[in-house]
Structure formats: structure tokens, C-alpha cells
Symmetry: C2
């Protein structure tokens, strides 16, 4: 039950670089929350650093800014309806984990919870906040990563605006020197 | 021939938010160059702002830092081999536009060229350089966008490391309040 496996930090970029829609969990003043996010990118391979933009209108903005911790969780396409539902309401009004039947379990190095239904979970701490006030841009370090070993070749979703998502299709491999 | 169409800045996020592999062109000291990039994200809807990471090992780093301009060009899957080839050599040694038979045409608001073979081209100027020295992270503003009107439903590619790419698959649309 809920057996997540330690995932090497050196490979975290392979999860986020392709641009999937993700969930972000926080724990602030003892309260868990989860939001939907598409504006993120890798910044460094190892230790993995990630940049993301969280609108200051979102409940998560203050929770992340104050707690300095979050979890980035990667949902497969089978969670698409929940991902949209999570993104269409605010933690100010809704207790989202029970509302959308998402299961929060304790992380190892941060207070924010892991999302059991996601195929990967990345525990993050704030690394640099210089661009938070002007651009809502947070720099995070991934301090621990988990993967669900039962999930083979999960398909992620990519947002094109207004609830339209492209689902991962076929995979191609070309000889490349690029990491 | 090469008739690109003005694309509304308010919709630029719909092109970059899904996380496609892109090309980045620069013009520095009168010399065009192009590189391959996956580490980028949207930062603001309108005027569109984009963050990206360009390694200081790359020829483009200095070209972008000094010229303060670039073009982000979006290739479809049919360009995958060229995209990998462009990413596997440096502008220090190779004149990439002729070497890979990519066609550079003048942009409107920046010196960096557009790439005719790409289905969209975004002319960018540097917006904030505070995180360049420490993280190689540039903040750009998209000042002009172009789309090739002949290209319907282009399929983009998403890098998972070491030359493995996932190609856009099916599209799903869910009722959503999210922009």
C-alpha cells in the first residue's frame, strides 16, 4: 500500500523538462492544500533546481512564501478531471484533498504532503526569492524525490489553455549527446 | 513564400506552456546562431514574459547576455533530427543555419532571425537579468509573435533526456475556468 520508491535526484529533470501539468501541495499553519500548475521549468540538473510561477492571487502563493516548502506531484492523464477541478477552486474556500478524494501522505523532508495518486512526487525547499515580489517566480531545490514503481510509462498532460490538454503520444529516440 | 502571420501576444502562453522543445536564435556581432532549449516557462500572460535557462557553456549565453535579444522558434516533430543536430554542436565551431539547412529571415523588432521552418516564432527582449549570473536564468518579454498559417495542428516534441522525446498525442478538452 502506497509504497513509493526513492527516485535519484540526478534524473528529476527527465520528469519536469517535458512540461507536464503538475500539482503543488503546501502545508501552512497546519493546513494542507493543493493547486494545479503549468508554469515551471528546470534550472539545474543536480542538485535539481526548479523555477515556478505561482500567482499572488492563489492561496498557495502565501503558503509557499511563508512555509518555504512544497511538493510538486506529477499526475497521469487518468487524473485529468481531478487536476482541472483542483485548478478551478481555491484553498481559501475548499479543503481540496478530501473534496477531490486525493490522498495526502507525509513527506520525508518537508511538511507539505505527497499525493499518493501521482506517479512521482518531488519534495522542494525555497532556494531563491529575489523574483517573488515582482514576478511571483520561486526558485526551488528538489531535496527528495519519489516514484510509484507500479506505474510504467505514465502519460502526462500538457495545457494549451482553457481546459485543452495534449496527452503524451508516441516516444522517439534519436542519437544525441544532449543530457 | 515564407508568409508568416502576426500572432496575438495574448495567446503566446498557449504555445510555450505545454513545454515543447524550442530553438533559440541570436545575432551577436553580426553573426546568426541557433541552439536547442527545453528549460523555459511562461511568467506572465500579457505582455507575455518568459523565463529560460541557457548554460554559460553555450555560445548563446554570451550572445543573449550581450545583445539582450533572441527569437524563440517552435519546431514540429518533422524537424526532430535537425533539432537534435543543432543541440549537439556549438556556434563556436559551426555556422548552424547553412549547416542544417535552416532558413533565417529578418525579424521585425529584434536583430535575431526567425526560423522559416518553425511553425511559430517569438521575438524576445531581455526583461530582467538578476538571476543570470547565479543561475543562467534570463527573463524575456515577447515583443512580437508570428505563426505559419499553413501549419494546422503542429505536433511538438518534449525531451525526456538523452535524445528521447515524447511526441504530442491526442487532445482532450475539459470544462475549465482556467485560462
Amino acid at each position: 500500500m502506497n509504497k513509493l520508491k526513492d527516485f535519484p535526484l540526478s534524473k528529476v529533470y527527465q520528469l519536469l523538462e517535458p512540461g507536464p501539468v503538475v500539482l503543488v501541495t503546501t502545508c501552512f499553519q497546519g493546513r494542507n492544500n493543493v493547486m494545479t500548475m503549468s508554469w515551471h521549468m528546470m534550472v539545474e540538473f543536480e542538485p535539481p533546481a526548479v523555477a515556478c510561477v505561482v500567482s499572488s492571487n492563489n492561496y498557495t502563493f502565501n503558503a509557499l512564501k511563508r512555509s518555504r516548502e512544497c511538493v510538486i506531484a506529477l499526475p497521469g492523464v487518468e487524473l485529468a478531471r481531478k487536476v482541472v477541478a483542483v485548478g478551478n477552486c481555491s484553498g481559501r474556500n475548499v479543503d481540496k484533498f478530501p473534496a477531490f478524494r486525493l490522498t495526502a501522505i507525509p513527506a520525508e523532508k518537508v511538511e507539505a504532503p505527497l499525493v499518493v495518486q501521482c506517479f512521482a512526487n518531488l519534495e522542494c525547499k525555497t532556494l531563491d526569492t529575489r523574483l517573488v515580489n515582482k514576478y511571483n517566480l520561486f526558485l526551488l531545490e528538489v531535496v527528495q524525490a519519489w516514484i510509484d514503481p507500479r506505474r510504467k510509462n505514465p502519460k502526462t498532460i500538457h495545457h494549451h489553455g482553457y481546459g485543452t490538454f495534449v496527452v503524451d503520444g508516441r516516444t522517439i529516440t534519436l542519437p544525441s549527446k544532449m543530457r
